[in-house]
């Protein structure tokens, strides 16, 4: 389990992480989402033990990550902008990693050759295309046999087929070895397909952190049509995040379970009422709407 406790990081007075708390359960695929500059990459660099925190702590199974070689040996990462030595090939880097990661799996390296068929393992990684570089990064990371895999925009640059294959490999590791995957991405539709836990970051803090199903159960999109065109006054204690209207159809994003909200709105005798689940993207947008990060109508 990864525990991030009151993590603080400042850059020249700017607090990139402001007392951030998050917990990634063992064996989870945890999606870390947030607007640009929310602090996603920063927190990942702390979790991989690269940066030293100004305050707080990052623990893996109760042990501090920073400067802890034993813990870091269990973590593999693919940063958004990864780096390999000048003119080093995938094979060279595999040899390098083998010298660092005691669990580096040479047999798996050989087996994955059949997966990443387009990657020439003897070719300098820097000479490969962006997508192939990404494949090489996955190839190497998966061979480290990590307990925790930290991925920052992992499938960016991969074609749809390769995305599927990579996610398949990751899911397989999660299923078979209980690997914990922490993934940061802006591709919420894709995260929605693979993640079982989601944390939403903004201004260096985690706003919401739940399992995806909990998150989806806690917000509901109601489409309602009343006798009158105007929306009747709703109860004060009903937390409505967003209201929109197209013709006579009102669309309301309301915090609460679908059953509870449906029951409460039923007293207004709507002509038509339907509770719809929210996508992760919608949850992201409406949760952040309350954090002064709403989608604005832009007229140019």
């Amino acid at each position: 389990m990864i525990q991030v406790l009151d993590l603080v990081k400042s850059f020249d007075g700017f607090k990139a992480l402001d007392g951030l708390n998050m917990t990634v359960p063992d064996g989870a695929i945890y999606g870390l989402v947030g607007p640009n500059g929310a602090g996603k990459s920063t927190v990942l660099r702390h979790i991989t033990g690269v940066w030293r925190q100004d305050g707080g702590d990052v623990l893996v199974d109760g042990e501090r990550v920073y400067e802890n070689a034993a813990v870091k040996a269990r973590i593999a990462s693919i940063p958004d902008e990864f780096y390999y030595f000048l003119s080093a090939s995938t094979k060279d880097m595999a040899g390098f990693y083998r010298g660092f990661y005691p669990r580096f799996d040479a047999a798996r390296y050989a087996a994955l050759r059949d997966v990443f068929t387009t990657v020439d393992e003897k070719q300098s990684i820097r000479r490969l295309s962006k997508g192939m570089q990404k494949q090489a990064a996955f190839w190497l990371a998966l061979c480290c046999r990590p307990d925790i895999l930290v991925l920052d925009e992992p499938v960016d640059g991969l074609d749809p087929v390769m995305r599927r294959q990579v996610w398949g490999l990751l899911m397989g590791d999660v299923a078979e070895h209980g690997t914990t995957v922490l993934v940061s991405s802006h591709n919420l539709r894709e995260l929605e397909d693979v993640c079982d836990h989601v944390g939403i970051l903004n201004h260096g803090k985690v706003l919401v952190e739940r399992s995806l199903s909990d998150l989806q159960e806690n917000l509901v999109k109601m489409q309602i049509v009343f006798q009158e065109k105007v929306l009747p006054p709703l109860p004060d204690d009903m937390e409505v995040l967003n209201i929109s209207q197209v013709g006579r159809i009102h669309t309301l994003i309301i915090r609460g379970s679908a059953v509870e909200v449906t029951n409460r709105l039923a007293v207004y005798a709507p002509i038509l009422m339907e509770a719809l689940p929210l996508t992760l993207e919608e949850i992201f947008i409406y949760e952040l709407g309350g954090e002064d990060y709403a989608v604005r109508d832009i007229v140019l």
């Binding site: 973590i75 780096y83 390999y84 998966l142 046999r145 078979e176």
Partner: protein, 674 residues
């Protein structure tokens, strides 16, 4: 195909903890990635055995002594320069990952502690140079064995010195590497810091001499600058000395070893900085927060001093006198340095609005410092109290005539003498402003011979064991000689101490030295109208002349000093100098206790004056001067040229010769009948 099939458990999953302090894979990777560095260094070192081999084949059979000298001479400066250059290259290579955010991410996500990364990289870089050194050492050993003479001692010294050079320079380069996040800044830091102390000392000395009247240097600063300029120390320490037994050794191997230890300390300090380093500063010119203001104001100060003086050197000729033009140029240069460093730190040209306050503070500090120096608010020029002074050395005065007493240096311990010097010092301190103005305006306002500028060094040995030194440029006026309170008169009194003059000529001659030659240059031959040298032939003649000179010195008839090129000086001093050459030979023991001959010779030059009656009489008696071979004063010497010009026109040379001879010798010394 199912991907899960590919992810079957491998046999390598057995857990083994990684070594957090060392990683051999990284060492191998460094060696294979950066082979051009150690390859080039090794190739450069290989020149040594190759040169020995070709040289040895040309001159058979080479001796151990010859090979030793050849090897040690190569140790420095060639080895020194190679070590300095390749050390920074090695440090740049093995720590290059610190200068790119992506490589920082790769290396620091690896399961190894920072200490492990540092140690492995540090050892890698060191091995780039030490391994080639050892290989070349063994190869040279083999080559010299092939040549039939094995200079083991010299080779070991060579290896030791090279390892130590590298240990220091490489550690220093690594130390610098920890303070920057920019790979281009690293060699700049390394180069600048290697010579910063020496350069800053020279510049500060120059600046202080401009602003602080009386300042000419600080021994402590000079020594500190020397020891903090390791390249200079190594260069001196790497000179080859000859041992008593005819062997060769490095002059300062112990100093080189000491600096190698300093290198290890620097490596330790570098590790301490690395442990605390904020890795997100990759790309920044300065990566350690507390060093940023040091860098900013340090650059501003250095640019102020360097560029300020350079601009003054360029434009000083068209600027008005005084300190203010210089101060303005220093302020301008300081601001340039300040904002330039701010731009480097912020990686932006838009720094003026955010950092003008710092620039203003810098200006205020510079103006304040200049005012303190110029107005002598710290009492720098104040003369010490007499009870604190144990002795004083007065030197620097350059007086006429030009001989061994021209640059007199008096060491005074008598309280009265010390008080006289202190009085002079107090007068100088009191009249500081007038003296400084006099230096600027004097040359334009006075005729030659009425005005002179002299330099006076005062070196006090204090009763508490410390020392105090001052240097003054003084304007002297002929008219002031009559006023005993004037600085000119006090200086003249000091320079004209008869009791001290003899020492100026003869103190350097050991008592047991033998007078082997006495000669006079510029004796005028009236027949040919040319100047010739004459020599006292016998030992008796030489001794007689020496006795006459000493008698004149004791009576104050010779060695009179003149501060001005005035009429008295020109009519009193002959153009001829008496030259006495002394020789001494002795047998001393060398380091091994073996006796060997050591010879010494020294020369005394005394300008002859018309008042030196005993000497002139002796010269006449010995026949070295006579009616046809005369001494001429400077007055007459000047007349010579004028007269020659005339005689060339009128053919009256003979008349001049008679006139010159009449004036040349005092009546009692060489009476002459026209």
């Amino acid at each position: 195909m199912s991907w899960e099939v590919k992810t079957m458990q491998s046999g390598t999953s057995c857990s083994k903890a990684p070594n957090p302090w060392w990683n051999a894979a990284l060492l191998r990777k460094n060696a294979t990635r950066f082979w051009p560095i150690w390859g080039a260094y090794g190739a450069a070192l290989l020149l040594m055995p190759l040169l020995l081999l070709t040289d040895g084949l040309n001159r058979r059979p080479p001796t151990v002594s010859y090979l030793s000298e050849s090897i040690l001479v190569m140790a420095c400066p060639i080895g020194l320069v190679l070590a300095a250059v390749f050390s920074i290259l090695a440090a740049m290579a093995v720590f290059s990952y610190l200068y790119n955010p992506r490589s920082v991410g790769l290396m620091h996500a690896l399961p190894i502690r920072r200490e492990g990364l540092f140690l492995t990289n540090y050892v890698s870089g060191l091995a780039f140079m030490v391994v080639p050194q050892v290989v070349v050492f063994l190869l040279t050993l083999g080559v010299s064995a092939l040549l039939g003479a094995v200079p083991v001692g010299a080779l070991i010294q060579w290896l030791l010195s090279q390892v130590c050079f590298v240990l220091f320079f490489y550690s220093f380069a690594v130390f610098c590497a920890m303070f920057t996040g920019n790979i281009l800044a690293l060699p700049v830091f390394y180069g600048v810091l290697n010579f910063l102390a020496g350069g800053l000392y020279l510049l500060l000395n120059q600046l202080l001499q401009q602003f602080v009247y009386g300042y000419y240097g600080s021994y402590i600063m000079e020594r500190a600058a020397y020891w903090l300029t390791p390249a200079l120390v190594f260069y001196r320490a790497g000179e080859v000395a000859v041992t008593g037994g005819g062997g060769y050794r490095l002059y300062g191997l112990h100093i080189i070893l000491l600096y190698a230890l300093v290198g290890l300390v620097l490596a330790g300090a570098a590790l301490a900085v690395y442990r605390r380093r904020s890795l997100e500063t990759a790309g920044d010119v300065v990566s350690v927060r507390w060093v940023r203001p040091v860098f900013k104001y340090g650059v501003a100060f250095c640019v102020a001093v360097t560029l300020g003086q350079f601009l003054y050197f360029l434009f000083g000729g068209v600027l008005p006198g005084g300190i203010w033009p210089m101060l303005c140029l220093i302020l301008l240069s300081g601001l340039i340095g300040y904002f330039a460093s701010e731009m480097l730190l912020r990686k932006s040209f838009r720094v003026f609005a955010k950092s003008w306050k710092g620039g203003l503070a810098l200006c205020l500090v510079l103006v304040g410092a200049c005012c303190v120096m110029d107005f002598d608010l710290l009492g720098f020029n104040r003369a010490p109290s007499a009870d604190r002074v144990a002795a004083v050395q007065v030197s620097g005065l350059n007086t006429w005539p030009s001989d061994d007493a021209s640059n007199a240096s008096f060491y005074l311990t008598d309280p009265e003498d010390i008080q006289a010097v202190l009085d002079l010092h107090s007068t100088i301190a009191r009249e500081r402003r007038e003296l400084q103005e006099g230096l600027i305006s004097g040359l334009n306002n006075y005729e030659y011979g009425e005005y002179n500028q002299e330099r006076l060094y005062l070196y006090y040995e204090m009763a508490d064991g410390t020392s105090l030194s001052r240097r003054y440029e003084l304007p002297l006026y002929l008219a002031d000689l009559s006023d005993p309170e004037s600085i000119t008169a006090q200086i003249a009194a000091l320079a004209g101490r008869w009791d001290l003059v003899e020492g100026q000529y003869f103190n350097k001659i050991p008592g047991d030295a033998e007078l082997v030659e006495v000669s006079i240059d510029r004796v005028f031959d009236t027949a040919t109208a040319t100047y010739n040298s004459v020599i006292a032939d016998t030992e008796a003649d030489r001794e007689a002349l020496l006795a006459a000179v000493k008698a004149d010195l004791a009576a104050g008839r010779i060695g009179k000093r003149f501060l001005f090129e005035d009429a008295e000086r020109r009519s009193t001093c002959y153009t001829a100098n008496l030259r006495l050459i002394f020789y001494r030979s002795s047998t001393v023991l060398d380091e091994d206790g073996k006796p060997y001959d050591r010879s010494w010779d020294g020369r005394v030059e005394i300008s002859l004056q018309t008042t030196a009656t005993e000497t002139l009489r002796c010269l006449t008696e010995l026949g070295l001067i006579d009616d046809a071979h005369i001494l001429v004063t400077h007055d007459q010497d000047v007349s010579e040229y004028e007269t020659r010009a005339e005689t060339n026109a009128a053919g009256e040379a003979e008349e001049w010769v008679i006139r010159a001879a009449d004036e040349a010798l005092p009546a009692e010394a060489a009476p002459r009948t026209p």
